[in-house]
Amino acid sequence: MAQAFTKAMARNIFYGGTAFFFLLFLALTFQTHSVVPERDNHEAINDVVALGKKVWEENDCIGCHTLLGEGAYFAPELGNVYKRFGSTDAIKAFIASRPRDGVPGRRSMPQFNLSDEELEAVAQFLKYVSGVNSANWPPSPQG
Amino acid sequence: MNQKRLFLRPCTWVYVTLMFLTFITWFVGVNNLSGRFFAFMVLGFALLKGQLIGDYFMGLKQVAGLWRWVIFIWLALVGTLISVAFWQTL
């Protein structure tokens, strides 16, 4: 045996292995696409929810909160906030009541001055997310 | 390999053995034979088959040092883990 270990073979395995596992990943993605509609609560999506997602994004809520565990870890999880608070009204009341100058010495959510329509929309968006089947996560209602 | 003419090449003997063990495993399967005896028998056959493939097909019997035992170690680990798990339920 001339050489135990050649660069050409290492290269082949890099290209072949990468292509192979990327195709495998695509196959699993394809499978995911066929299963997700049973769990993603898409029936709840409507114009209000769409507006709510936009409000959520354009105020960078993810910059403090997590949603289904992803985001910043500065403020509570909101994927289950609808269940925790019990109603969209409670969510709206909380967002609307944030003091403009914060709470001395403590973390406080900014006052975003949302319109009634936007408030309703973001609450509906959070309600929609709470209906996503997240495999029983989070482990406790506290998020 | 070419010093003397053998009745069958070693790899052919191995092939026949592999087929034989496979048919027994299949027989256990189609008859739904269950329980520790049958389960561990077919598992044992599987490990034996694996070792034969490693030694004679992959040619590890001709290799010295740690590489000689790569397949054996894998089979031992996998066999142990499967045995531990199945032992509790059979």
Binding site: T6, M9, G16, V35 | M1, M19, T25, F57, M58, V63
Partner: protein, 190 residues
């Protein structure tokens, strides 16, 4: 290769062996995960195991072993500088691989037509994941063998230099080896 003095390295390029070890590690973990998950769902696993086609699995096992054997003969042929026979043995091995794909494909067709997918239940999750992952390896192995076969036909290997044949062969035997454990574990043991 007189059989007396031992080699330092396994046949083929050493990189393929690193790759083989990685693959075996993944399959090993998958097998162990199957076995230990089963301990919590014995009823479920035993029930759905009965829906698998053991005859198809037998044909597939025979196909892979035979294919592996043909590959061994292909390596033996090139070691005595016989490119033509090496090529023919590889073709035969590929035919066996194709048989595996057809039979396994028919099994999948049967399952999918019943609406079974990875999310149906834990047993099918494992059955489909393990066999499909292996299925892809058969395809990859066949692509490698085909490349080796074509090069053999054009006289790209010789008794002196046939690392490529051994490399492809080692990978193919690994695909066979994994199935040797998969077959009893998923189809038979209960």
């Amino acid at each position: 290769m007189t059989g007396m003095e031992k080699n330092r390295w396994p046949p083929g390029d050493l990189v393929i062996w690193i790759f083989i070890m990685a693959e075996l590690l993944v399959f090993g973990v998958f097998f162990a995960a199957y076995a230990f998950t089963r301990t919590n769902h014995v009823e479920l696993f035993n029930t759905y195991q009965l829906t698998l086609d053991r005859n198809a699995a037998l044909i597939n096992t025979v196909a892979l072993i035979t294919s592996s054997y043909f590959v061994v003969r292909a390596v033996a042929a090139i070691r005595v500088d016989d490119s033509r026979r090496c090529f023919h043995w590889l073709l035969a091995a590929l035919a066996m691989g194709l048989l595996f794909l057809v039979v396994k494909g028919a099994e999948y067709h049967h399952h999918f037509s019943q609406g079974i997918n990875l999310n149906t239940n834990t047993f099918y999750m494992f059955y489909l994941s393990l066999t499909f992952f292996h299925f892809l390896h058969v395809i990859l192995g066949m692509i490698i063998l085909l490349a080796v076969a074509l090069k053999a036909r054009s006289g790209g290997y010789s008794a002196a230099e046939h690392t490529g044949v051994e490399t492809g062969a080692s990978y193919w035997h690994m695909v066979d080896l994994v199935w040797m454990v998969l077959f009893p574990l998923v189809y038979v043991m209960r």
